[in-house]
């Protein structure tokens, strides 16, 4: 949904997506603002390689190899220290991205 909303004429200056999936390379080429993607082990690189290659904008894909799909939201078990650490690291990365691009 976010990626659909950042094709040309978008009011947004930058975009970040957390544990996304379902990537379409056609759509990637239409994206017009810098894109950060935080991926868990459930979104392996093979799933978004074509999408990433089709991007024409500045982008960063960060893999959180120990995290599951949803660790930045409803599936974050923050009682676990490693999940809390990667939750914090993910949000710090999102902040850094927006600092840089908007």
């Amino acid at each position: 949904m976010a990626n659909n909303a950042i094709s040309k004429d978008t009011p947004f200056s930058a975009c970040a997506i957390c544990h996304p999936g379902f990537t379409d390379a056609d759509l990637a080429s239409q994206i017009s603002v810098p894109l950060l993607a935080l991926c868990s082990k459930d979104e392996p690189e093979s799933e978004y390689q074509d999408f990433k290659l089709a991007l024409k904008v500045e982008h960063r894909f960060e893999m959180f190899a120990d995290m599951v799909h949803g660790w930045m939201s409803a599936r974050a078990d923050l009682s676990k220290a490693n999940v809390q650490a990667d939750f914090d690291r993910g949000y710090a990365m999102v902040l850094e991205w927006f600092e840089k691009h908007m």
Partner: protein
Amino acid sequence: MTAAFKPSAACCSTPAITGPPYSPKGRFVEVDSTKVYISGPAKATKALFILYDVFGYSGQILQGADKLAEHYLIFMPAFFGDDPAPLDWMPLDGPEKRVEIDDFIEGPGDTQKTLRRMAELRQRFQNMEPQIERWGLLGYCWGGYVSRRSPAKPRA
């Protein structure tokens, strides 16, 4: 039924976690009949529009939003109203639930409908806070997913 949304195996097989209760620092307000979570510094000139995931206002997503709200004014609309996916919906362990998710994606989670509503709401937020100069967009899972049908290619 052909759904536009192709959930990954992990998306539909991992249960949500109910964490300890979290007290949001922001407020829930009604904007154009849609409930919206707003948090962050008043009079901020930079804002984030957040597309939540199918579980709606989980404690964890509110906590994350409040982290971002230390720097930006954040707006997280309740796209699914009072009816997000129930937490016990996942894992998707039976054909009945498979039909439910298809219905959800074709209904409350419809891409074109959501994109139109996003544009309307962002304009409302802009009118409420005219000092905002720059907007960022943050999406989670459903909110972040790339539709297999782009706006230029209407759904069959």
